[in-house]
Amino acid sequence: MELQAVLMAAGGGSRMMDLTYNTPKPLLPVGNKPLIWYPLNLLERVGFEEVIVITTKEVQKMISTDPKMKLDVKMKLDVVCIQEDADMGTADALRHIQQKVKTDILVVSCDLITDAALHEVVDLFRAHNATLSMLMSKAHEFTETVPGQKGKKKTGEQRDFVGVDGTGKRLLFMANEADLDEGLVIRKSIMRKHPRMHIKTGLVDAHLYCLKKSVVDFLAVNKSISSIRGELVPYLVHKQFSKSTNSPKVNDETHQNLNKNDGNVNLEIQISSRDEELLRLTQERSCWNDHRGDMSEAYHGGRLRCYVHIMDEGICYRVNTIAAYIEANRLAPKLFDEPAVHPSAVISERCLIGADSIIGASCQISDKTSIKRSTIGASTTVREKVKVTNSIIMHGVTIEEGCNIQGSVICSNAVIGRGADIKYCLVGSALRIEPDAERTNEVIVGTDQLMEI
């Protein structure tokens, strides 16, 4: 076993509360499959046989009981539950499962939908004996209209600055715009080692990381780090060029001290990937080098190395906002080849269903309906003369006669009254829309769901 897969599926989906109020984020239907299926499928495709799933009790229960949430994966799922209210970060979760981690790990977030070639990331990890390798992608512009969102979102968001070397693989720098009040500061010694640095801003972190086992051990000792993305990764990236991890002498000394476990310095050093004896020998004997320009040894003697694979094309979404959710639903059918219409669905012959639509299990679609570019969840009833365009209908929804639904998201078990006209709306779960209602660009949720302040 070279890598253990860890799936982080305990996030609350705080950036799309309207959707996750009733359904936990990992179980949101995307293309009629729970969101969590996508990363699981990704792992299965590359041959993982076992995966540790970190999630909440609620999700676990729903997966095991609700037939609609059934995950058709053959992998062995080792589900670890963490308390929902403990407010654990991703790094905390890793610390939680430290006992289970026997080797290097591949951490995936449950909201990742991608067709990335995983081996690219893992190969970087292998080839450079890296401490961390991760996946990033060019950010996508979301084109669809988002319900309840007035106008275009401001682009003045805080950008991430990612610095990579000339080859575009080695991760040299990482910071958020918010932390760069005094301008972007780079140490000259880094520039001397990597004289050409590309600084990219339009990137999305896919939250897919290969980590050395030693990093997990480090986390176990260093309890102050609670999030992988927010703290651990920047810390590792920064540590690449610090002295303590670079000079082998110090490293050897501290290895002896390690058992004593005294002081913070040693803990930090634990992270640096210890090259095996044979590897070190190879490095000594070979004339291979990772850089040009000066004659110092490969990697300038640094033990801690971070790499990133940046996808130029292909699908890579993180479903953590409503906009991303809608976009993912639109693209999901392209990711798997299953019949668009589930065999158990009952569909009248006199209706129009576009090729880019998905109809879930045991749906009932009546006469004279027209469904285009939409996803219809399982056990949904669509009555006569209904027009659904560009929408996402979740499970168990009832749409009465003559409705017109366009560019909207209808959550589970909602009922849309006869003749309603809904455009660019989000309808919360189990809500009832009165007949002949006309709603445009609204977020319609139950009163109990209004945000508490």
Partner: protein, 702 residues
Amino acid sequence: MSSRGGKQKKGNVASEQEEEEQPLQAVLVADSFNRRFFPISKDQPRALLPLGNVAMIDYTLEFLTSTGVQETFVFCCWMSNKIKDHLLKSKWCRPTSPNVVHIITSDLYRSLGDVLRDVDAKTLVRNDFILVYGDVVSNIDVSQALQEHRHRRKVDKNISVMTMVFKESSPGHKSRCEEDDVIVAMDSKSKRVLHYQKTQGLKKLQFPMNIFQHGSDEFEVRHDLLDCHISICSPQVAELFTDNFDYQTRNDFVRGILVNEEILGNQIHLYVTQDGYGARVSNLQMYDSVSSDMVRRWVYPVTPEANFTDQRGQGCTHSRHNVYRGAGVSLGHGSQMEENVLIGRDTSIGANCHISNSVIGNNCTIGDNVVLDRGYIWNNVDISSNVEIHQSVVCDGAVVKEAVRLNKQCVLAYNVEIGPNLSLPEGTVVSMHHPEEEEEDDDDEFLSDDQEVGHSKDKTRQKAFNPAEVGPEGKGYIWKPSVDDTEDEELAQCLWGLVLNPDPESDSESEASEESQDRSRSVSPEIDDVNAFQLEVLGTLQRGLEENIVCDNLVLEINSLKYAYNITLKEVMQILTRVVLEYPFQLQGTQLTTLQYTGLLLPLLKKWSPVFKNYIKRAQDHLDCLSAVEELFLEQDTHQTAMVKVLMKMYQLEILEEAAILKWFSTGTTTDRSRQLRKNKGLQKFIQWLEEAEDESSEEGE
């Protein structure tokens, strides 16, 4: 200004048709405006110093001509006559020359800025022109850069004013000039320069955020660029120099454009060549590396044997190991020219010499058993037998006598005589000019290398040469590299430039320390908050004392601070206790005796007791407060005896309850020191007293 704008517009319309036909122009500045080559440049302007036995300005002109320049303006200042004579004799001034050279001389130029202002005043340039110094050696074909530059100007409506030419070369490359080390931030797509900074002496490179706000999402920070000091300028550059009379150098200009770019809309771009060669000989270190690159044929097709200056007798043969020999060279028996050696015409070399990586000029005489390594021997030099020369420059007419040894980085200026039997230490500079003779005119700030100093010649006191310095038969004065009254600027002006050895140890040490700072900051920002809160509380209490503020108001203020810094109630109390107990130290410094301390503290405690009472209510609060007291006195162990008094006072003021004190005393001694603390006699007495009092009171109760 408006008339100029009109003129420019008209020019543009015309230029669109003429652009191709108009001859490419160049401005060559044959003056360095600094004194880096002093004292050599006292006798010869820098542009005429020989490099590979050819004057440097010839390389620059050759580069311009080969790149397609048809009209060159050569601006000279220092020793302009010599440069003029040289050029008039050269092939550039023959009627067949494809490149028409105009020589413009003036003693008034003090900087590159002055030259360009003159260019503007005389309206010499009509179109994009190439700006170079007279000491640039290059074989870069700038036509592609020129094309890119013109394209940009067409598309962007003259926004781009300058394209700087850089050569790719990694840090640590020999031909990189440490002083010219630059860091460039650019837009990856448009190749626009966003930030340009010299890195010399910097440990951290800082990029202002506003350079990343240009809509592009990909930037490049490059430290692998060597500034070739070749720039393609649009005519606006000269105008901008006129408008901004404070621009002296190209650096001023670039900085000015990058900073003011938002107002004026001007941009600077860069062109990076991978395989061309381009370098400016800005100090002797560079002279050394450019010379050796030249001999090693990196500047092909400009090579020593090419005789591109087309002068009679300059030709030489090229044989393997890069050994070049001019006409009439004689080599003694057993002499070896190992590799990378260039020997000028009519030079004779004695027997059993070892010569490697060296350039020897014309008409030199070299004796027997001479060792030359990285030696640059100019013309008409006489070197006697048994001489050893390492990485040094020997100028025209110098005489090196028997058994002299020149260690690294020595310079023998014109007509100096050295020896015999002498070893010059590393970095010795010997000149026929006395150093003081030069200092007299040093007052002028803008003194260029190239200032006329001859007038003081007759005044010069004929000082005797020091035989200890230059040998018994020597002639010349030692130049000390650093004069005491000048600072680091002088350091940068020493002939050989800075030595390339950044101290890696100290560098990374500071990194480590700075890192630990970073770390503590990132992981526990609340510590900062607590500290800030503590300072604020101190300030509040101080003000309370000075302005006699009621305790209730103090409480209010502390409460608001608590929310501002997000401090828990427990921390508030601990900090408050600490601040109050430390207050006497704040007032009088830490040298207080215990008696003074308690004397100062007890009234304060009384004064602020309402504040304490406000925060210390529950039993746990009492314990927290006590532990804070304990902590403080553990730190201030010289004042431990005062602790009893403090506790007593707090007990009397009813800030602390006896039960709490007893509980604190009996529980949780974890460290040796606090156990030690509790063994304090006074404290034990106090506790005993408390216990007894409690007994009494309980007895009374019964």
